[in-house]
């Protein structure tokens, strides 16, 4: 590891990935590449935005980084322990059969290194940290509001103390006032727990508010990247200019 790499949490080196479709008994599948030659790094402690319109491969990139899909070309290097993910569709992120408490404790049970007492202490600490009131600890997902569900999801993602989080449109489905609360919480958690984020969004204004650097993705390629100020004040690509103009 070079000196420079000590400051990185993630390196995505010329990665291409896609899906296999169709086929019968495993034969005759067709491969469709979705992301092409994607190359970027995430620095320690930064919030990196990833913007682009629907269908450009943002979620495919997230899945590939998380190891849920294999890159067909290139390499992904993690410098921290396994990253965790916060999803856009918070309705299906929590198991409807279990309580908020259970969902946050589950990663620790899977981990298996802590006894019941230690698990309880950690779950209570984390649920309090994300701002869920105690009376909702035992609630099932369908008794929670959208904002509360997303708080529980964040707690579950953070309970094993990862250093790198991929957030896929975590606030897009929320009302604007709740959105502001969750964004504030994400910022606060970054500072408190030394986190880095890859923040995926189609909302350029949210990205401007939250992120340090930004990647612009179009048709499966990164077409532009730089600090938020650079890209927003001086976009080089026409596509970026169109996006910025449209979201003013």
């Amino acid at each position: 590891m070079t000196e420079e790499n000590n400051n990185l949490v993630l390196e995505v080196k010329h990665v291409s990935a896609g899906y296999k479709r169709g086929g019968f008994f495993g034969y005759g599948q067709k491969y469709k590449e979705v992301i092409h030659d994607v190359d970027f790094v995430v620095h320690y402690g930064e919030i990196l935005g990833l913007v682009g319109e629907s269908g450009t491969g943002k979620s495919t990139l997230a899945k590939t980084i998380l190891g849920l899909m294999e890159p067909t070309k290139g390499e992904i290097v993690h410098y921290t322990k396994r990253p965790q993910m916060i999803f856009q569709d918070f309705h299906s992120s929590l198991n409807p059969a279990y309580s908020a408490w259970w969902s946050v404790e589950e990663p620790l049970r899977i981990f298996g290194k802590y006894d019941a007492e230690e698990r309880e202490r950690r779950v209570r600490e984390m649920l309090t940290r994300v701002g869920l009131q105690e009376e909702f600890f035992a609630s099932k997902p369908d008794e929670l509001s959208g904002g509360q569900k997303q708080r529980v999801n964040i707690a579950a993602a953070l309970i094993r103390r990862p250093r790198f989080i991929i957030a896929d449109e975590p606030v897009s489905a929320l009302d604007v006032t709740i959105q502001a609360q969750i964004l504030k919480l994400l910022k606060q958690l970054r500072n408190e727990l030394d986190l880095s984020y890859l923040f995926i969004s189609h909302d350029l204004n949210v990205v401007y508010q939250l992120c340090d650097r930004v990647l612009v993705m179009k048709d499966g390629r990164i077409v532009e990247q730089g600090t938020v100020e650079e890209v927003y004040n001086n976009p080089k690509e026409e596509y970026t200019r169109n996006l910025l103009e449209a979201s003013k």
Partner: protein
């Protein structure tokens, strides 16, 4: 999910529980011996013999008590086999997909293509007829495909939910995801399927016994008794009436129960 009481559920519970209690009593105690032939042939219902007696002079009330137990036993075990094996197949095919899914589900389709009674007949003739456990096994096998299909759909649709992805990211193994994360959610669709399957099992057992390939004396199931009653419809219609009513009540009660559970799931009053 809040389970709310509703009319269907309440009525279903009352009927089903009553029958369960009756069957339980019948297993251990009946007013007369259900097989003794000493109470006079073709007696109409009296206080002494509530449902009358049959062509051998047996007490029909005692036989119904005992027979309900046998029928319940057969139906429960049958559906049990179908549900457990079917859920296992559904889990494997729905969750993992791929070639296993293709092979098993085509086999499933082939099984479904046979009329179920015919299939059961075939299996029984292979296993050897006339034994209670062979009937259960045969019917159980017949019930596997429908449970497999229902649970496969459920597992497949839940496989890609975010909470499963999350669990996988946390390092949960397939066994844990299947048993702890998915099974409780699949049970919600399985319970109504279970009640429908139970009713089908009661009726299938009845038709098989009626055809003479089900249980054999001295065991008596409701279905077998119905086939006996057929021979004495004119001389003693009460045999057919009371046995038939018991089957109808049982199927009706369990049907209401399933209806009620589905309504409770949706939160309908």
């Amino acid at each position: 999910m809040k389970k709310r009481m509703n009319g269907y559920l309440l009525a279903g519970l009352i009927i089903t529980c009553t029958i369960l209690v009756v069957a339980l009593i019948g297993t251990f105690w009946t007013p007369y011996s259900p097989t003794a032939m000493q109470y006079g042939k073709f007696q109409a219902p009296t206080l002494a013999h509530l449902f009358g007696t049959d062509h051998f002079g047996r007490d029909i009330f005692s036989r119904v008590l005992k027979g309900t137990g046998t029928t319940l036993f057969i139906a429960l075990l049958t559906v049990g086999i179908g549900a457990v094996v079917g859920t296992f197949i559904g889990a494997v095919t729905g969750y993992f997909g791929g070639v296993v899914d293709d092979v098993l589900m085509r086999f499933n389709d082939a099984l479904t293509a046979f009329p179920s009674i015919l299939l059961a007949l075939l299996i029984i003739s292979l296993l050897g007829p006339g034994k209670k456990y062979n009937v259960i096994l045969a019917l159980g096998i017949v019930f596997i495909p429908s449970f497999a299909r229902v649970t496969r759909t459920a597992f497949a649709s839940l496989r890609d939910t975010n909470y499963v992805t999350s669990a996988r990211l946390m390092g949960a193994g397939n066994a844990r995801i299947l048993l702890v994360h998915l099974l409780p959610n699949v049970l919600r669709v399985l319970l109504p399927a279970f009640t429908i399957g139970f009713n089908n099992a009661v009726l299938a057992e009845a038709s098989m016994s009626f055809l003479g390939i089900g249980v054999t004396p001295p065991d008596a199931s409701l279905g077998y008794m119905l086939s006996e009653a057929q021979g004495m419809l004119k001389a003693g219609p009460w045999y057919a009436i009371f046995t038939g009513l018991t089957i109808v009540l049982l199927v009706f009660g369990v049907g209401l129960l399933g209806e009620g559970m589905q309504a409770a799931e949706k939160g309908v009053e």
